[in-house]
């Protein structure tokens, strides 16, 4: 449920990203400004992907993580601590698979092209 009208936050971000991308193609902008605007566009794209998909990813990995460490509550900090304290077998396939999937999802949000190249 949302009380807000369209465009949604995600759609507004799309509009801003499209605007910036079009502007950076204009010949009016100096090269150093284009570089900075491209960074701004990339940052907004991360925000949009996290807004669209972040909640679901967080929920999925909370469940998967709780199963992995066999505890009710899971957090990234708790997992890191268990690795640090040798409470997890770092050769365990389930553990490695979990971290791999988690990393893939993070890259899907931060820079999805990175997986393709």
């Amino acid at each position: 449920m949302t009380v807000f009208d369209r465009p949604s936050a995600s759609e507004l971000l799309d509009a801003v990203i499209d605007f910036i991308n079009a502007e950076t193609k204009s010949e009016d902008y100096p090269a150093n400004k284009i570089f900075k605007l491209q960074i701004v566009s990339n940052v907004l794209s991360i925000v949009k992907r996290e807004l669209d998909l972040g909640k679901e990813i967080n929920e999925d990995f909370s469940k998967l993580g709780a199963d992995l460490i066999k505890e009710k509550d899971f957090s990234i900090g708790k997992l890191a601590e268990k690795i640090r304290n040798n409470e997890i077998n770092i050769s365990d396939k389930n553990f490695i698979d979990f971290l791999y999937k988690l990393t893939e999802k993070k890259v899907d949000i931060d820079n999805p092209k990175y997986k393709k190249i």
Binding site: I39, V43, I90, I96, T103, I109, D110
Partner: protein, 320 residues
């Protein structure tokens, strides 16, 4: 800047037409000096002690460049060094080497098509020359073992209090690797594309010596192979343009050190971890409020790229 320009003009005994700021290294203020006769020079300086925490003093940087150049490694000639007041800082003036440093241009522009094929071998050979530097001349340079590097990196990482399970795994993985204790050498410390000046026919120069130290020769080779410096050409392990075989052939063509590829793999993994921690450093420089920068904020979300690389190396033994 006015006083600095006057200082340089007095030292060079020539008028300066323009002083052009260039992108700095970790702790350097770098300017291109354009003299009245259009001859160009480069000045590198550190402005305060605070900025130089990670880097060696500029005086030592200049000394290393002089020594390495005497071995015929491609390094810019040092014109003069200075150590002045707080405003001028400490630094040196060196020759400006014509050529390109931007990796994407070197990788993609047609004019570099011919040189690309031989760069991997040339880089390997030049690195072997650097690694043959007599250490007796470098007594003031820190010796950094693999264990020390890991400990220091862990301290930096943990200081941000942002837990990264993949980094924790990588630290554990590195701790149990069997490292060959090669004889210590002069390590450049940031040996990668971006710090190479390339012309249409050659590797012209190796720059940015501020992270130099004494250590394991495989550190430079592993850092060079980190995926983050391949700029999209991931299947070419050496900077996105060359194969590791050519790099090793170039290195071994003038060195007695026999390279085990598995050792480069270990140091490459260390390099990805190091780059990940550096990304965190950049992001937290912004988050702490010390520098307000969109670039530094954005780089914090590149940590996941290094995690992805680390997991591919650990899970799939994939170093490409």
């Amino acid at each position: 800047m006015q006083n600095f320009q006057e200082f340089l003009e007095n030292s060079l005994q020539q008028n300066i037409k323009k002083l052009v700021p260039l992108t700095g290294g970790a702790s350097a203020d770098i300017n291109r000096i354009i003299l009245e006769d259009d001859k160009e020079l480069i000045v590198r300086r550190s402005l305060s002690r605070e900025q130089s925490v990670m880097a060696i003093p500029k005086k030592l940087e200049a000394k290393i460049q002089r020594i390495v150049r005497s071995l015929d490694a491609p390094v810019p000639e040092i014109i003069f060094e200075f150590s002045e007041d707080e405003e001028i800082g400490e630094g040196y003036v060196m020759e400006a080497i014509p050529g390109e440093t931007i990796p994407r241009k070197i990788l993609r522009d047609d004019k570099y098509a011919n040189v690309r094929g031989k760069l991997s071998f040339e880089i390997g050979r030049s690195l072997a020359t650097i690694h043959q530097t007599e250490l007796d001349d470098l007594g003031d340079l820190d010796k950094v073992s693999f264990e020390d590097s890991l400990k220091k990196l862990y301290l930096v990482y943990s200081s941000f209090e942002q837990p990264q399970p993949v980094f924790e795994l990588a630290f554990k993985w590195l701790e149990i690797q069997e490292l060959i204790n090669y004889e210590n050498v002069l390590v450049h410390g940031d040996f990668r594309f971006g710090n190479f000046i390339i012309s249409e026919s050659n590797l012209e120069s190796i720059i940015d010596w501020e992270l130099a130290h004494i250590g394991n020769p495989m550190e430079d080779l592993g850092w060079l192979c980190v995926r983050s410096w391949r700029f999209g050409n991931v299947h070419k392990r050496v900077g996105g343009l060359g194969d590791i075989k050519e790099l090793i052939e170039g290195y071994e063509s003038i060195s007695n050190i026999k390279i085990e590829k598995s050792q480069i793999d270990i140091w490459q993994l260390f390099g990805s971890l190091r780059w990940g921690v550096i990304c965190m450093m950049q992001a937290f420089a912004h988050l702490s409020g010390s520098i307000n920068s969109i670039e530094k904020a954005a780089i914090g979300r590149r940590v996941s790229e290094t995690e992805y690389d680390l997991m591919n190396m650990i899970k799939h033994k994939n170093f490409l």
